[in-house]
């Protein structure tokens, strides 16, 4: 049975289990739910979960493991002299799989009888036959590959049947066992909660898995990069000048500085505005104002960044030059071009406002009223109450919001490209163009350099380094929050 149908079958079994489990326990209790240990739905859910979870787990496991086993098994049919190393074997095996899959398709579409498929030999035009069915094969099919593929088919076929039986058996077994223990004294809630807890843990692990995935998808190319480019030059180089002809200088420091500088400026804009907005919304504004202003501010987070970028390039940049540039209204001649750290920082700050305002507003709003009463009752003004009682109590949430905004600032590209330019520079002057790590990751990744050159691979090293640095910053933030957290009751 194909996996999808198997999946549906198991789900149906689960549903039946829910109904039966519930019915059974109600019968056991003579319809009086007061005699039950747990609520009736827990019993139903328990049977359902016992039927579904192990069998689906088995299904997934089987789907992953079976090809591995069969592959190892089938690989022995390919003479060792045909491949140089395990990499080459892998390549051959993927060919085998492709041929086997192709034969499956051919059989299912009726282009070949099952018998014919197993009896094809290298002299038949297998590539042609499969090609007509839309199966891409790299080369003509050699005899031993074909044999291996046919072997592969037989084994997967058998495996598939065993899987079907095993999964359904597991489902029925789970079903039956759960139903058997279903009586009024069974601790169904505990069982169900254990499963829910497992699911919660699973969800949390997903975040960890993502991290692992990210590290893995970066690490190999990073290593590759460091083979081509000295690590010391990368970490301590103060020049960023990739060039196509080789001889690039790929120092991360100016990029890192740019990232830091632009993020700081954007946070300097977003944090005060966002926090004041949040405080106003939750503590001063009436429900009407709040109900309108908050979602409106949230629109700021939804405007595509390209708009902000253009806004920076076409409006804010020239405006700032008009103020700080040559012949500017301040007559200071600090700013040469519109592209500058400050331009990007300001505009990005605007984008980040709702990250801080909305989230902080929710958190501030959930500080208990008794805290406010306590402070107001002492003759504190609202602002004193907010500054000294409410904000400290809401600190963890606010820090979370700020971190989120900072993260977004670090990860932003479009605004930086259009607002701050693409020049890597180590300078204190906020009126100069600079660039960030993230924009360089994007541009080196989508650039035209040879994809195995250090100029392209550097993107991965940049990604990895940024990952580690932000990790450290987050640890610092966690420690700070722990230290200053004030738990109200």
């Amino acid at each position: 049975m194909p996996a999808l149908w198997l999946f549906i079958t198991v789900l149906v079994l689960g549903l039946a289990g829910f109904i039966l489990g519930r019915a059974r326990v109600m019968k056991d209790a003579d319809g009086d739910i007061r005699k039950l240990h747990s609520l009736p739905n827990y019993y139903g859910s328990n049977v359902m979960l016992s039927a579904i979870i192990p069998s689906l787990g088995l299904l997934v496991l089987w789907l992953i493991v079976q090809p591995m086993i069969i592959q190892a098994n089938v690989a022995s049919h390919i003479p060792t002299e045909n491949y140089a190393d395990s990499g080459a074997l892998n390549l051959l095996m993927s060919d085998v799989r492709r041929v086997a899959d192709g034969l499956d398709i051919a059989v299912s579409q009726g282009a070949l009888t099952p018998h014919a498929a197993q009896n094809l030999t290298g002299t038949d035009d297998v590539r042609g036959i499969l090609g007509r069915l839309g199966v891409a094969l790299g080369t003509d099919v050699e005899d031993d590959i074909l044999t291996a593929a046919q072997e592969y088919r037989i084994k997967s076929n058998i495996g598939g049947w065993i899987m079907t039986v095993a999964v359904i058996a597991a489902a029925i077994l789970g079903f039956a066992m759960a139903l058997k223990v279903t009586n009024k004294d069974h601790r169904a809630r505990n069982s169900v909660e254990k499963v829910v807890l497992a699911l919660l843990i699973g969800a949390a692990s997903l975040a960890v898995l993502t991290t692992v995935g990210i590290v893995f998808s970066l690490i190999f190319n990073t290593i590759e990069f460091f083979k081509l480019y000295p690590a010391a030059d990368f970490f301590f180089g103060t020049t960023w000048a990739p060039s196509f002809g080789g001889g690039s200088e790929l120092g991360i420091l100016p990029l890192f500085w740019g990232t830091f500088y632009i993020s700081i400026i954007s946070l300097l804009v977003a944090v005060p505005i966002g926090l004041f907005a949040a405080v106003y919304l939750s503590e001063y504004a009436g429900p009407k104002t709040r109900g309108i202003a908050k979602p409106l501010l949230e629109v700021l987070a939804g405007i595509p960044t390209i708009v902000y970028g253009l806004f920076a390039l076409l409006t804010v940049g020239p405006l700032l030059v008009g103020m700080f540039g040559k012949d500017g209204s301040f007559g200071v001649n600090w700013m040469q071009g519109g592209s500058a750290v400050i331009t990007a920082g300001l505009v990005m700050g605007v984008m980040l406002i709702p990250f801080i305002s909305s989230l902080s507003d929710d958190i501030i709003n959930s500080v208990p009223q008794s805290m406010r009463d306590g402070s107001l009752g002492l003759g504190a003004t609202k602002s004193e109450t907010i500054k000294q009682v409410i904000l400290p109590a809401a600190l963890p949430g606010i820090v979370g919001a700020i971190l989120l905004a900072a993260s977004r600032a670090i990860g932003e590209t479009m605004i930086v490209v259009l607002g701050a330019g693409a020049a890597a520079r180590l300078s204190m002057n906020p009126f100069e163009a600079m660039t960030t790590v993230t924009t360089r990751i994007v541009s080196q990744l989508t650039g035209d350099a040879d994809f195995s050159s250090p100029e392209a691979l550097v993107a991965f090293a940049l990604g990895m380094t940024l990952f580690v640095i932000t990790l450290c910053l987050n640890i610092v933030a966690l420690v700070i929050v722990r230290k200053y957290r004030e738990q109200y009751d």
């Binding site: 993927s94 390039l313 040879d450 392209a456």
Partner: protein, 321 residues
């Protein structure tokens, strides 16, 4: 099974590929091919991931595939690659429509943008800040150049065909060889661009360059010919070495700054992915890529040797390793 052709790669080739794909979808029974953009390198990288449905069939590139990339491809099983040159992309220099007009030589650009130039026999940091210091024939307009960033293949062409050539023509190259002690070093010296803000790298696309010229009327930008031709209301083009950039001039070879555009096909996918061969044939057909076809109309410089390409595509001739 996947039934549409999957193309990825250069954003320079994208407009042409999309015109072809659209017409292909209209005139054939095959579904419209998917043409992704993302850069030549990214496209080739995905091209070289291996064979199979979950990989792309065609990579567009605004440069020739590199040997290392071919090797990487082969390692992943992509051994037979059909290389198709579709024509040339002209690279032009343009400024705001209402500003001064320019007639450049490569030497002017070199003098304006190099980090160091030779003054009185010594290499000094580029002292020029206005165009009239570069060439007395020019107006005293401040130098402000928007050139492609180092991610763009166009930059490579610009460096080599404009700056390096200018360096050689001015005679500075010879001096640099003397000073820096080697041709390679001299080349590097010639092609390093000033970083004092008078030359701005553009990482985005030509629209960004245009927007920057919009907000800084003194700016001079580097554009693709097609882009310029679509924006003649805002831009005026400069001549290079006395030649006005047109498709004809580039096809004849009189305009010096251009580059070939390519796409690459996985031979293993031909005949397997429905429509792949037809798409390739259609792309290079006279109807599309010919001098009067829609691609040329849009700005592609048609390849004078198109007939050879057509034959090679039809025969599925793969690249030599």
């Amino acid at each position: 099974a996947r039934d549409q052709v999957q193309v990825a790669g250069s954003s320079t080739v994208l407009p042409y590929a999309s015109i072809v794909a659209e017409a292909f979808g209209e005139n054939f029974d095959f579904p419209t091919p998917v043409v992704e953009s993302g850069g030549s390198s990214a496209g080739l990288k995905r091209f070289c991931e291996g064979l199979g449905e979950n990989t792309i069939d065609v990579a567009n590139a605004s440069r020739k595939i590199k040997d290392k990339e071919v090797a990487a491809c082969a390692e992943a099983g992509v051994t037979d690659i059909v290389e198709v040159r579709i024509g040339y992309d002209g690279i032009v220099f343009a400024s705001d429509i209402n500003g001064n007009s320019f007639e450049f030589t490569q030497e002017d650009w070199y003098k304006a943008l190099a980090a160091e130039i030779i003054v009185d026999g010594a290499a000094v940091a580029n002292p020029n800040t206005t165009w009239d210091q570069v060439n007395p024939a020019f107006p005293a307009q401040p130098i402000m150049a928007f050139i492609p960033g180092t991610k763009h293949g166009t930059r490579e062409v610009f460096d080599e065909k404009v700056i390096l050539t200018g360096c050689e023509e001015s005679g500075d190259f010879a001096k640099f060889v003397e000073l820096k002690g080697g041709e390679d070093e001299a080349e590097d010296a010639c092609m390093s661009i000033r970083t004092d803000g008078l030359s701005v790298d553009i990482d985005g696309d030509y629209t960004e360059t245009l927007a920057r010229i919009d907000s800084n009327k003194d700016g001079l930008g580097v554009f693709g010919l097609a882009f310029y031709e679509n924006n003649t209301d805002k831009l005026q083009v400069a001549t290079m070495a006395g030649v006005v950039p047109t498709t004809e001039a580039i096809a004849e070879g009189t305009y010096p700054v251009s580059r070939p555009l390519y796409f690459y096909i996985k031979a293993a996918h031909i005949g397997v992915i429905p429509g792949l061969q037809e798409y390739a044939d259609f792309f290079v057909s006279d109807d599309m890529a010919g001098p009067d076809g829609p691609l040329a109309e849009y700005g592609l410089v048609s390849d004078p040797a198109l007939a050879d390409t057509q034959a090679a595509v039809a025969a599925g001739t793969v690249m030599m390793k």
